[in-house]
Amino acid sequence: MRKLILPVSILAVILALVVLAPVLPLADERAMDIPHRFAGPSMAHWLGQDEFGRDVLTRLIYGARASLSIAIGSALAAALIGTALGLLGGYFRGIVEIFTVRAAEIVLCLPPLLLALLVVTIFGAGFWPLILALTLLYTPNYARVVYAATLQVRALDFVTAQRALGTHPLQIVVRTMLPNVLPPLVVQISLVIASAIVIESGLSFLGLGVVPPTPSWGLMIRAARGAMEQAPLLLLWPSVALAGTILTFNLLCDRLQSVLDPRAVPAGGAIWLRRRRTAPPAPRTAPDEDARNDAPADLLSIAGLTIALDRPGGIGSGMELVRGVGFAVRTGETLALVGESGSGKTLTSLAVTGLLPDVLGVTGGTATYRRRDGAVVDLLAQDEDGHRRLRGDEISMVFQDASAALNPVHRIGDQLTEVILAHRAIGRAAAKREAVELLGRVGIPDAERRARAYPHELSGGQRQRAMIAIAVANQPKLLLADEPTTALDPTIQAQILALIAGLKRDNPEMGVVFVTHNLAVVAEIADRVCVMYAGEVVEEGPVATVFARPRHPYTAALIGSVPEGDAERLVAIPGTVPAPGHMPPGCSFAPRCDHAVAACREAPPPEFSPEPGRRTRCLRFEEVT
């Protein structure tokens, strides 16, 4: 609401001047003083005198009177008629809609100024023709806005309920609908007033609006143009008054919009696009040299990864969504990252590629990655450019929703060629050939023709195949697949899984991180599984042994909740995942855990290794199964 203070107070001053003009100690707006024509500012005439020696300040204020009464008058008249049409059309629909909203829209077929001129031709210039023209002009705007708002409100439950109760339609429209469509209406009124002032002053400027000697800003500018040589300031005053008033109304409209519809506040752009990093990378523990040597076969090794909300001064800044996550992926291995939505599995994979949303930031940890050339780098310490060189080449991603992840306005083939050309120095024609080949390899029939198709022309399964083709185009060393089958039909899911398995056979060096919440998929595709819960890794190990004997109650519960043919009953996990910022002091799963004891609730459990190659974060892992 504080945003409205500025425009509203300026408008209050303008309106007060306009309303009080007759009682203010002003000169007579029509009193001529020919000997002093074009006199400059003086004590008696603050802004000087015009071509007939009349007081400019007085005429400026009386001009506002004409402009504003025409603009506000017609804006309100149009609002009244337009709202009635929009409400009726939106509420009753059908034939009523045709005779109200659609009929009003015919006016929109004519350019606005033309319609006004047409009215002036028929009725001549003057105050009332202007009001009529502007009312006619703006009625459809209101009708449309109110109509759209009415349609929305109409579908709401309380309106349906009233209709079911047999309330008279007009009563519903006036008592229930009208208050609900008021916010967009108010915005529209301020917009229309500004626009009406523009048209009114324009017509007056042409000599087709307000009739002299009544003062009007448009007329004043018209007269001042003729006297530019003698008194250039005469042009300035009405111009400033006019532009200032319109600016104020526009400002009011903008502010009203942001107050009435806070969701419309735009996002903050994209930090990755700005050359300079806005914040230096947070200090992190340096990659441990020994640890690197211990696991020479590791392709990617994440340790202590912490991701937090990173909006300086924003709500919940510093709140940790992922805490101390660590796991390793070996060359040629498939690791499944499993957990409920909100467990942080997607964020983890995005952090590795530097694609976290702007509001999130990595606040700790390392992700050492062994490049093709053998060099070891910390992925979390890369800037956008460092990430860029790896992304799509060595490390690539497949996203969940291929229809949103593919650009709708580019052909599939071009989107594929693009990633090849970004990392390899080959010709465009060669890249195109390769793109078609790739499409064939991922199982898209008639690849030659399909390469020329747009994403919307493909089926959901084919889009995901194209997405995978993009990901594997440069023979990546690491493929991060973020729920690539979740949005697909079960039969298509199986085909996509088979495709990924097939691609792994073609490229046995490729490590895969497969993010999913589907344990059946894990059993089918993964070598090892890493279970995440509330932003932490709770258990990790080879798929076969973890499934055979889970060492964390959460894993056990997840396995228990998978529908299987021979299962006696499905076990749902009671309770919900704790919200970030409301983590229990001890084990984050303790509130939902059957095995929890007092010790579980006191401090976060450390990591245990029940057997080589397995980890769990449970004090009672011995007793779980």
């Binding site: 001549g124 752009g269 694609l355 580019h410 970004a422 990392h423």
Partner: protein, 318 residues
Amino acid sequence: MLRYITYRSLVAVFLVWIVVTLVFLLLHLVPGDPAEVLLSQGSTAADPQAVANLRQRLGLDDPLWLQYAHHIGGILTGDLGTSFRDGAPVAGQIVQRLPRTLEVIVTAALIAVLFGVPAGTLAAVRAGGWIDNVISFLSSLALSTPVFVVGSVVILIFAQELRLVPAGGYVPFAVDPARHVLLLLMPAGTVALALWAVVARMSRGSVLDVLERDYVRTARAKGLKRRRILRRHVVRNAMIPVLTVLGLEMGTLIGGTVLVEFVFNWPGLSGYLVSAVDARDYPEVVGIVMVISILFVFLNLVVDIVYAVLDPRISLSR
């Protein structure tokens, strides 16, 4: 695609028919005798003999359906009647003046896009920064200053005070190309200012919207260079709604250059319209309004088709 264009064209033809009928009806909807209304000046009653003459010239004594048939027939054959003032055919004047008006509009649109798209994109990329604030303030100012104010101030500064340019006028391109362009740039630049603001604001909003899309993340995941992402995946997609709005704005401008043509003494269609309205020369006004409205409808049609070409999803949804 062809089906879509056919469908949209039929809608356009229908709209043109509505406009033509509306303009016809407008005179007849006026309460009282239209001839008398047209001839009256303020409170002075019209001369009965003149009213009778005008009724005859406008064919107002014929039955309404016959008048309507004449009206439609005239438009189909390109006969828009003759002027009250000098008896010259209205169509001839329009053919001569329309290209000059279109020249101003197209030049203004080019200038607006040339400066508006980069400004809006820059503002979006630096959203919340000082560049964004400056561009946002400038565009508010440009949107709030009517063209005739801008035009008058331009003349005051550049022609009157600095004496860099003439105060307006027109020279055919064939006579003096350089002077033609100079004289064109003043009205076009003035119109472009407000248009620039519209394009910049739309571009900013649209780019911000596109930056949030998944496919931009995909483009980043591909390891494309910043400039390429911005050009091919952000601005290319963001331009679709911007161009639509620009097209619609240009349509409005066909009738809206009235003021700027008046200010710069540019002999386009609109100046003709103003003098016709001033003289209340009904056939001239109707002829011009009709031509502009038809252009307006067809420009909207072209915008729709271009939109469909730019966004391949559109044509399928119809």
